[in-house]
Symmetry: D2
Subunit: 471 residues, 4 copies
């Protein structure tokens, strides 16, 4: 519409003055876009849905499958049979990446490619906003955290091999009882070395001495890297990531940080940012869905060294779905800097209230809030009285009782479960320790939560605990 010719012709239908005013509005939006392209930063304020839809459709028409009058014969791709599917992907059907590089530009899909590039620069900006100013590069992968960890490990290994270090096969891993972290190492064909955590008060923390001892014992020539963790379920605290980064620098071994849902917490981002500065970090991985309120399926890899991050992108064989990037792109434009900042601020402000309410609920049935100062996302209350004997069944039963009361965000941990994953036996699985002091319940104060939700949640939790205890 917005060409001189078309606006002039439109002036024959509708008074030229009104058309001019309409043309002004188009130009304002074009300037919004100019700003985005030139500054490579989140817009201060979020865009309205119309602006977002317009941009997506403008991008779509830059892809060859949408070229009017294209002679698509010979093409094997981007034909879409269902109108429901075409509409839900805004006609952007080419996916992301090329065989050589998941971040590479596709000649046949200029619009899709531009969306990818913009998403990556905006993501860098949003990480800076959240506190990781030392991130020099960030890319979004259309795989969730577990697979992104696998790809990071495979890239580290390929690099080591290319440098002649063919024996590097161990990943030192301060224990975190989350299955896909463990599997990310196994899937990469590597050997995880579990470093048990130390109990400090109620809290489980990195055992640096044990880590150093393992390095000593296994030999740096055999160690690919350490995989450390920030965001995790209490009573585990975040790892001593700065110390680990320094250790890795000193011993010249790799370091991958699993910052899965840590972008929402300034404590975690501060930790990552410091680690980037003072020690060695090759890659830091975070989930898109858990930090940015999008559907499951994407992750962000960032690091202090742009080259290595890009190598991970190059490791990805072939193209991939654009869905996780598209969801994130839309959401970042929708929120803008102010919108995301508000979400971060609101979460932070709710934490004390959440802890207080949990604590009161615990007190009411003779339990208490665990003291876990190095975790400001997840919180626990003991269940020592509620679950009198340490029975796995009781924990499971309480868990499903809560779920059936539509309390979907808690986890009841017996601390006595045994589980074997890919041949490795874990004691006390779920509790990040072979023998934690007693059963407990965790819940997270996650981004997007509201005070009303907390109230409803605590009210139901209280009721369920009382009922359960009474049985």
């Amino acid at each position: 519409m917005n060409t001189e010719t078309n606006l002039n012709l439109a002036g024959a239908f509708v008074d030229a003055a009104y058309i001019r005013q309409g043309g002004e509005s188009m130009r304002t939006r074009e300037k919004q876009l100019t700003s985005l392209l030139a500054q490579r930063k989140l817009p201060a304020q979020g865009w309205d849905d119309l602006s977002i839809q317009l941009l997506l459709m403008e991008l779509a028409q830059m892809d060859s499958n949408n070229f009017a009058h294209n002679a698509g014969a010979g093409e094997r791709e981007a034909r879409v049979a269902s109108a429901l599917v075409a509409n839900r992907c805004f006609h952007l059907a080419h996916g992301v990446g090329r065989s050589g590089d998941i971040c590479a530009v596709q000649p046949k899909a200029a619009g899709s490619s531009l969306m990818v590039q913009l998403t990556n620069v905006l993501v860098k900006d949003i990480l800076h906003l959240a506190g990781i100013q030392n991130a020099k590069c960030a890319i979004v992968l259309p795989v969730a955290t577990g697979m992104a960890l696998t790809l990071s490990l495979l890239t580290l290994q390929a690099k080591a091999r290319a440098a002649g270090h063919t024996s590097k096969r161990y990943v030192l891993w301060p224990r975190i009882d989350q299955k896909s972290c463990f599997k990310s190492m196994v899937t990469a064909g590597l050997e995880p070395v579990v470093i048990e955590n130390k109990l400090e008060g109620d809290e489980l923390r990195t055992d640096l001495e044990a880590l150093e001892a393992a390095i000593e014992r296994l030999g740096v020539e055999n160690i690919l890297c350490v995989m450390s963790t920030t965001s995790c379920f209490a009573p585990r605290g975040f790892d001593r990531v700065e110390d680990i980064a320094q250790l890795c620098l000193q011993h010249d071994i790799g370091h991958v940080i699993n910052n899965a849902y840590g972008v929402q917490s300034s404590k975690c981002t501060h930790l990552v940012n410091q680690a980037f500065r003072v020690g060695r970090v090759d890659a830091c991985i975070q989930s898109t869905d858990k930090n940015f309120l999008v559907p499951v399926g994407g992750s962000i890899i960032c690091g202090p060294n742009a080259a290595f991050v890009q190598e991970i992108g190059k490791m990805y064989p072939g193209r991939a779905s654009n869905a996780p990037l598209l969801d994130l792109f839309i959401t970042m434009l929708h929120l803008g800097r102010e919108g995301y900042k508000s979400l971060l601020d609101e979460r932070k402000a709710l934490v004390p209230y959440f802890k207080e309410q949990l604590s009161l609920a615990a007190d009411a049935c003779g339990e208490r809030l665990l003291h876990t100062p190095h975790n400001d996302i997840s919180f626990c209350i003991t269940l020592a009285n509620v679950i009198k004997e340490k029975q796995a069944d009781a924990a499971t039963f309480l868990g499903s009782m809560l779920f059936s009361r539509r309390v979907s965000g808690t986890r009841v941990v017996s601390t006595t479960d045994a589980k074997t994953i890919a041949g490795h036996a874990f004691q006390g699985f779920g509790a990040h320790a072979n023998a934690y002091t007693g059963p407990y319940l965790t819940a997270a104060c996650a981004i997007g939560m509201t005070k009303e939700e907390i109230d409803l949640f605590v009210q139901r939790l209280r009721k369920a605990l009382v009922e359960f205890a009474a049985q």
Copy 2:
């Protein structure tokens, strides 16, 4: 996107050559639009959904409620609370028209206004394509046929009064048993004068002598107009519209044609086109849904005299919903000239098959197809044997039996129903005659139908007739 500045900036993200190619694609679409604006005709080929969505969103941003950074305070309108609603109207929330004229341009809604104007010029083109080349002007009203008839009558009356003819209150109406036609006159505060039809063979046709006699009897000074009908349920044939038009010219009385679903039939459009040429027609009204495969709710008024058609638009008090226009605008772009032409051709080609199949179904139970050469949309078969006695109940029962077998398009007429509408008593209501020869069933061969549908329909119809007869 499509500014030099933005394309250049995009070239820093994606190779300039690919961006240029994408830019070309945008320009192709802009030229499609240029063509539309300059030629004011349906595109030869239909547009793809992406092109249509893009145009609608470009128009939306020309409306003040979508101006980025608008200071909307003080406004009482076009705020939309629900995202579902905003999306379903493509952010075009201002409706159509101004207090002065339903076709007028709204200063605050240049985009919506342009959509209206374009719809009106495209509709004129599509009417020409369908055979009404003598239509000098066409406007779409966001009201269905009945109300459009009322507005046409009110405009005729206002014009007559303005010319000092204050006693014109009769509308001569060759009987057509469709309630909203009759009500359209009553609602306008006018007095319908029913002209009974003449039976010619199986068919009911305009009784021109009776019409002339009525003019004589009532006096032209008291007669506002004749309301004639083209498309109708057989066994009524279309009216002798040319003759009526000549009669109206001769006696200087108004003439409104109800061409409700006649655009789909070249016989009806030829009739209308001739009437425009040889006699007097003030306005010809057609439904949007029945001719153009859109949801119910709009109508098109056309005529040989642009000024009078526009006066009807000016008669409409205030603004109105844009939905019927928007649906039609999208559909016309979607179909294009070729698409609509194909629909017309396919319908025409199916008519002989439809008649043959109906005829065979009739023969199978001792009935026959009525001979109604002046109706090529609706067809009837007798039910003399099937419904042995002329019972209203039997007709109703057969009708609901068909509906419950998912045959939704038939109408069973007893020919013996009596009905009073707005104080006027009709004998044999539904059959367009006080006493038609016997009960029958009608069905229409309407635009959009397929051969498969006919086969399924006839198969179920046959089965139902046999079962019914057996009861």
Copy 3:
């Protein structure tokens, strides 16, 4: 999905316990609907979009055009060519009403019909919530306020004629300078009798003496009704509607209230409610878009007498677009009782702030806020200094200057414009009076506005006034 059979079969794919939980969720939604159907009231809390979409699609499948395996041959309607159109109407293509009654149920469209009936009961509830508890019946018409007024007048007239009162042709109309109100009478073929307003301080109010004198002068046998107005642009205050209602009762003449955007103001709804109680009101008309944040195109007719309101529905000839009802239905479910209550409360709370800010802006350039205590939606500031001489041009110029600065909600009134509408000459058109005291600017504090918008608006207004004065 939600049948025993399907849930059981699903249990072979996904653990039966999870399926059961999912089934519970379905049942919760079904109960929401049960509640809606049984109580016929707005839900306390708004529904989420998924619930609304599900209900609409469930309704759609009850319409015959969506029957799986329907033999649609013979049908002339509800075939939809464009997927964009089908989706935007949620596959509800049958429109509303039947030839006999715009509120009537369509046999072929049970789902669409149910939507209409639910909309009407919810609308009654929302009017009660807003303060018109004496409304005994409410119907939504798919026409905007102007046409709804016309239809109300035509119905009154038809009723009068049926009772033998054939000379009733005058509508007494306390002047309100809004074109479509005036046209609504003319379009109905009636003769408006303008009752000039009385200046009381800054405010223009109903001249009851003049009204009574007109009744006397014209004779009740010739007067169809009074058309009074609540919501209007200041400096006109709302009419003395209670007094008018009593007058109409006493003289046995009709009374139609134009409450266009008055639902948002408890003052207006109180007025209407009282008038229903103490005097005669036949119908009260309000806009859907101006009160309920939906696109332009619908209106609500309510009254103290259900029978008359239903007669208006029966007056409508034929079917019509469902769009205005569908938009309103979605929006009412989306908002719920609490949501709408909040909107009302927020508007009310903003009024003092809006007035204060306008007043400060006026003071800054030597003007003042007009004192109009009987209007709590629209407010004025004088422009005596800004527009030194009473020039129409100056007013127009200031108006367009504001619009080009994206201040779209103001109206600058010269008070000296002359305008002829349908043959009737108005002096000082726009100012509701032949000679108001001086030029002024109005702006409305409308539902949906925010404090931020007011701030932006006043800031731009101030700047524009200063610039304009300086020229």
Copy 4:
């Protein structure tokens, strides 16, 4: 809606008979679903969009994030900030899989999980329909072909290691010049061994002797598997997959088939099906977008041995995006068995025409169609005259010339390009051979193509070749 209670309540608004009819329609759809759940096969006819949308939304309400009145506090996921995003994923935000298994059911997302399971059974059925009746299991991975190959290789390796075979690191690979195939091996940390093809006439075919020699040379204890290819660009023919399968069986080495876009060709599916029967195949991978007209991003893994295919699913660390599955699920329901069968039949029927037209275009400028009988998707014409000297530049230039004329589906191959991928140097890259006989152009006759597209394509191709030759 469809409960006795609700239908009865609805009967108070709309005649019970119509409601009953609507209820019937609901039941018909429920039975469609019953059929799907019970038979686990594609519906014979495709579903309409309304049925698909309804099912998706019913599934969505079974996910905990959509539970009405859920106390979501504590949850870290499936909150969606943007309405555009929520709508485009039909409110299904949980992704697919669990940490343990990408095909596993999620307790919190019964609806999403059911969608995944249904997709997998329907995909097995569609593969059977296409000719791979020996596929015992099929799963859809939300990664494209390259990554699916990597995951298959990693799983094979893990299995080998678990069985004590720790030295298996070679993948024997009959050369196919497609970058992501090669990278799929490198990314898995394995060592590709390139087996050059044999020229037979114009065609490049598997060199079985060279393959056997390599097995001999490297030792089976060091060989993980062979990766063979069906669909490929001519003049490479599909591999001798049956022979390879027998060889692998005989030597007890793994075998992965890359059947990227081979589902559309009955020759390829026959080949795969035979190989499953007569020899060893561990996994066969195909793209979703290239075979099923969905956006890029998914792949299907099938095999003769369900256990191994499921192990690949278990290898995937963590959850993933549901987008590729959702697109495929919608598309399979949309097409139905008949729809997909038609697409297959139409493609097959177009092949002779496509070849003929290409051949005529070649003849016209002194070139010829290459004879490649073992490839019925991709076809080549020589460019010996058009590109006189074997210049890489000329090929590139012709390629971009075609693209700029909107012929996006061809590939011009110089046959003299050298390229190094992950440290491995390829001569003649793009031509599947170190030194093919001369430059050529390829184009594919892909599923979804129409005769009109072929005509437009050949017309432009002819014009471009003539112009190019003339330069």
